[in-house]
Subunit: 229 residues, 2 copies
DNA sequence: CATCTTAGTGTAGAAGCTACACTAACAAGT
DNA sequence: ACTTGTTAGTGTAGCTTCTACACTAAGATG
């Protein structure tokens, strides 16, 4: 079936930068393209927006289809509309970024992907299209946003140690933080709930596990509080 | 002439939220629609993206065509892709926001606009489409961004008094600021150049005029400095 | 019981933030 | 020339927050 319009139209796609936190670096999920253009090149998961789905829906659908990832924190990043982004025709792409708990996801290649894999940020392969730029922008955004919203918790399991949390910030912000000052600051916000559990399976003193109190955060936010690392 | 595609495609538009600073409030530029849908309703300037222009180009073109405004600070805001935004068909809109120096622009209605006018933020008429939401989002962004980038200067003439600058921040942030503390802070950043001129035509002691040192700001930024009000 | 590794804790000095009020300059009107 | 009205321009003290920094305690392992 064919659809015609009076004026030519750009094709509309979504692309997702999925971040995952590994032991000591931040990773990005890439797929290897099965089809041209950029056949066999690594690229961001993404694809065409259907005419009957919203942009957010399209992003989640493509993520699930191409990599098997679901239930992530997902947020729109930026829309890329340069003329020559895609060699085939004019394609405008709405980019998203997502934060996933690495351990949660058994990734698997599907549809247009030959393979799927996590890559450390400082070891990315050459990417298809303008995807390198999109990743750049996503990192910038994550770095900015992590400081004034509690978005970072999306990268950790529901229960985490303060050391894990500190590590997360050190990795994202790319600078060391002082242990005592970090703990003081976070605990003083009063948004972490101390659980009665400790981490398991470590061969040293086990650290206490905490949860992030999202309810309280939302309440305080409505009262004008603002998270600030 | 007609263009056909294998799958149906959303139409792509841009919409612009243009802010201008008036004596004591922030204004938004609106146009009154000449044509249906929402005929005669007030709406954001905007329109369809041509297949051979980038999104930024489309935004500037529409702004110029519909309101006569050129040479403004323009930045992409967010892309709106709900299914029922437009009663005619699926339309995805890339929203921009712009900062204009009110005095600079002789606005004029053209093309699809019956009229063009500035409206105070707290006196907006009912808007066409989901434009009220877009304006909301733009305000949020402006409020956030004004604090950690020197974007506010885009709303002032090239030479301004410290009182004008303070007024700007008070208006955007919607809270009073302390005169002495404000001046101390801004001058201590060392990004304002004191000119040898003073304001004209006031019937009281004239205040000194300053310029924003963009060059220096960019240099400091590269060295890791970050503007913070 | 010795060893290894990370958890968990306090303080002093520096820097930055807040609150606050008066004099100086200039223009306009008498 | 002087009075009036209006805004410009300026410093400080107290409080809060940030920074830098090192040792003991807990628990696991052999």
């Amino acid at each position: 079936m064919s659809h015609s319009y009076e004026y030519p139209r750009a094709a509309l796609t979504v692309d997702c930068v999925v971040f995952g936190l590994d032991v000591d670096d931040l990773k990005v999920l890439l797929i290897q393209r099965k089809l041209p253009p950029y056949q066999h090149a690594w690229a961001l998961p993404g694809g065409f927006v259907h005419v009957d789905e919203t942009l957010d829906e399209a992003a989640r659908r493509e993520l699930a289809e191409e990599s098997g990832i679901t239930d992530v924190y997902l947020e729109q990043l930026y829309t890329f509309g340069e003329l020559d982004r895609d060699p085939r025709e004019r394609v405008v792409s709405v980019a998203y970024y997502a934060l996933a708990k690495l351990s949660d996801h058994r990734i698997r290649a599907a549809t247009d992907a030959e393979r799927v894999a996590w890559f450390a940020l400082d070891g990315l392969p050459r990417l298809a299209f303008d995807h390198a730029r999109i990743v750049e922008k996503a990192i910038e955004r994550l770095r900015g946003k992590v400081r004034y919203t509690p978005i970072g918790f999306e990268l950790l399991p529901p229960r985490f140690t303060l050391t894990q949390l500190q590590r997360l910030y050190e990795i994202v912000l790319m600078r060391p933080l002082d242990k005592r000052n970090f703990r003081k600051k976070l605990l003083s916000m009063d948004l972490l709930i101390e659980t009665d559990e400790v981490e398991q399976g470590v061969r040293h003193r086990a650290a206490r596990l905490y949860r992030f109190d999202r309810k309280k955060y939302e309440k305080l936010t409505r009262q004008g509080f603002s998270f600030d690392l």
